[in-house]
Chain length 259, copies 4
């Protein structure tokens, strides 16, 4: 039996023993910026999976793995017990967000319940801020659920742009800030500026760098760098092809003159 | 945890101490007429916020304020303790109406529960009546959930047009009348005639003036006047630009003759 | 407070004192055939309203009456205590059917609950069967939830067409048959053949005539006849206008020849 | 009263007395491949209906039978008590899958509950894998909810294609694998490759043949063969008509030359 929102603890919070963890959300969204950062953190920190979340609000299907096995769409929470000066972490990653409006609220309720059970003291949500054109030098804009935290974001170089994103922050990244505001938990959203047209590891790297500063945490960014370079080669190829096509079209136009 | 419809009392009704208040609804809708009037009243009367309503039926997002802080979509009820001959007031304002049909009914149930807890004796809902063309001299049409109240509306100059709006009154403004009819609470809807194409402070002013008469209440209309003038300047500009474009097009047509 | 499906008894079944009533459904649908018949019966028989049904599955609005008062969308059940040889009747009429799939099932559950509380022994659902072209001589096709009842329909001149309507019987008219089949209540659907393009009182009359025979009931059909004649005048007018337009177009075509 | 998901046992599991049955799902889907196989098995094995499942998630209608009787959309589970070396079977067939995402999850919960009540030890789901072009020699691809079962599929000639279907397995065929994975029940999906454009008995036969080997079961495939031949005649006819139309079009083109 799968419940409407089905939160399954693989380990109890007291077993995991995190101390005042920071909760980080990186689910799929614009440019997959948040997802790239959160997945990267889980991998680099070798964080341990502690919660699985299934839901009737995810697509009614299974995905097929390379080896022919299948898996249900799910969200997962990973725990990282800090070895240094950085705080302990809980990292929320996953395949999908809710397929419908009400589901977003129900899932965010579940995320916050998990955060509270682990004693989380702060929430960072990660996402992309789509600007509809290629971004050469991505930067990070932010928003938070308290003015104090807005100021803190600024001190780390996060830009606060008057009322931006003007369309609001949609989905889990936004609602986590809103609902935790009512619960008295500090929460901020970091958004990497991105075209919004494709997966953007370069923007993800910009977000990761801010996040590392804020968390006093050091992880390798190599894997993201690698993917960013790949992406740039791909974009260069596309541009070249477009230019070639344009040239061809122009010479056709010229020829038309003589027909 | 945010409930499906989440009504949060900031002050208990007995603390607020309203006597037989009139409940006024002004949520977003056609020409934002109702919202303009209700927001204006809250501001001019310096009414006090007493209830916040959150819901899974609002869009799954947060809005970003100018200072970088965020807020959840919500509806709010303000209380005004009368100093003169006008009745005490409860004023319902907010960011959104429900995104789906069932949500409208659930939210209206909540609004009426609030009204009853405060002992409201009458409900006025405010809205726009879109006619699809610019309206030079906006007037106010009405409907009510009892014939006695229809007659009362007429005595204040509100027009009753046979079966209008023919498409019915949609959303909270309509359902509040319908559900309170079953509950035995008198309720009327005041609709400012408007084009329906843009925010219409002039139509809002017409509604406000009727409402003030009905409530025996006096507030400054200056702010609405200001916005109405701004809007008219804007419309004049648009008209001018359209005429210029038309002229240009005509002279192009003339020239075409010589080609 | 309006419940998701809100059934309100104006009179208790024992007060009304029907004996083994037949339950007749005539809600809006194809050609409004069922609605025309059921509304007509309520009026001619001066049946008494005994139940009102409100629902979150109806459109979130109120309708405005001619006199400026409003009313919530609702379904109603009327009771008719027979004076002659016909059975007692319960007649379900209303403004709307459900706006969504699940709502249809929830409402039909409520209708059947009402039918059972009044001790109904049989259900007739009325509707139109759209054939996509004008129908000169409408007839009635039928379906039922038992073979015995199918045979009975045939004996009253109702046509049974192999597997028709091939798309099934949609909405309350169909589901009432299906759910009552599981409850062991006999139920049949009478469908007047109609174009499906407009309200069709002629088709309604055909259904009414069959129904009267089946119920051993006699009511005036004058009002339906009147509306049918009106409709025919309207159709004749439309045809004339179409022909005139066609002539005009042809003569324009001819003139074009000389240009 | 019909419940949202309404599971009705016609016989209790202990009455039926199946021993460690295999549960087979064949609901409507791509090319109706799964449905064709499961319906065929029910017929050939003269399996006994033991469960009916109704739901608010099916279309709000009834279907009309040839004889004028009606039936509600439903799913059914049939039981087959083996006489030989094959395992006992439970076979899920039906008219529809859920009309909405959440309904898929609720129905799959019900299917698994039924499977567990009968003590099912394994689940096979059957479907089609649409490739968007005519398939001359259909074969069967598979996926499973454990690596061990994937290997077993391979040993029966089922192809495992890396991560295919890349869009996942949608609906009951997929979710049954996913949810039973969490419940610790082994489950595999067999998909007959098909165009996806029409009902495909040839692809169904390919799936049936694999399934028979896996179940150590022998049933006649004649009926499917018959339908496959019919289908091929139909496709040949369509091709011929297309070619004729093409010829006609070409000769029209040629004539145009002379006009």
């Amino acid at each position: 039996m799968l419940k409407r929102v089905d939160v399954r603890f693989l380990k109890q919070p007291e077993e995991v023993g995190l101390e005042k963890p920071v909760f980080i959300e990186g689910l799929p969204g614009i440019g997959h910026v948040g997802k790239l950062v959160a997945d990267h953190l889980v991998k680099e920190l070798k964080a341990e999976k502690v919660v699985e979340i299934y839901s009737h609000h995810f697509p009614p299907q299974v995905m097929v793995n390379e080896d022919g096995t299948i898996r249900l769409p799910k969200n997962e929470v990973y725990a990282y017990k800090s070895k240094g000066d950085s705080p302990d972490l809980l990292i929320l990653v996953g395949d999908f967000q809710s397929m419908n409006g009400e589901g977003h609220f129900e899932l965010v309720n579940a995320y916050i319940e998990v955060a509270k059970k682990f004693g989380a003291v702060r929430i960072y949500t990660l996402g992309g801020y789509g600007v509809g054109k290629l971004v050469e030098e991505p930067y990070v804009i932010g928003a938070a659920n308290s003015l104090k935290l807005v100021e803190e974001l600024k001190s780390y170089g996060v830009r606060i742009e008057r009322g931006e994103p003007s369309g609001g922050i949609i989905g889990a990244s936004g609602l986590l800030l809103g609902v935790s505001q009512l619960e008295g938990i500090e929460a901020a959203c970091l958004m990497g500026v991105t075209s919004g047209y494709m997966v953007d590891p370069k923007s993800a790297k910009a977000v990761l760098e801010v996040l590392m500063k804020m968390l006093n945490l050091k992880v390798s960014v190599e894997a993201l760098d690698e993917r960013a370079k790949e992406m740039e080669r791909l974009i260069a190829q596309i541009k070249e092809m477009q230019e070639a096509a344009m040239q061809q079209w122009k010479s056709d136009e010229d020829l038309r003159y003589f027909r």
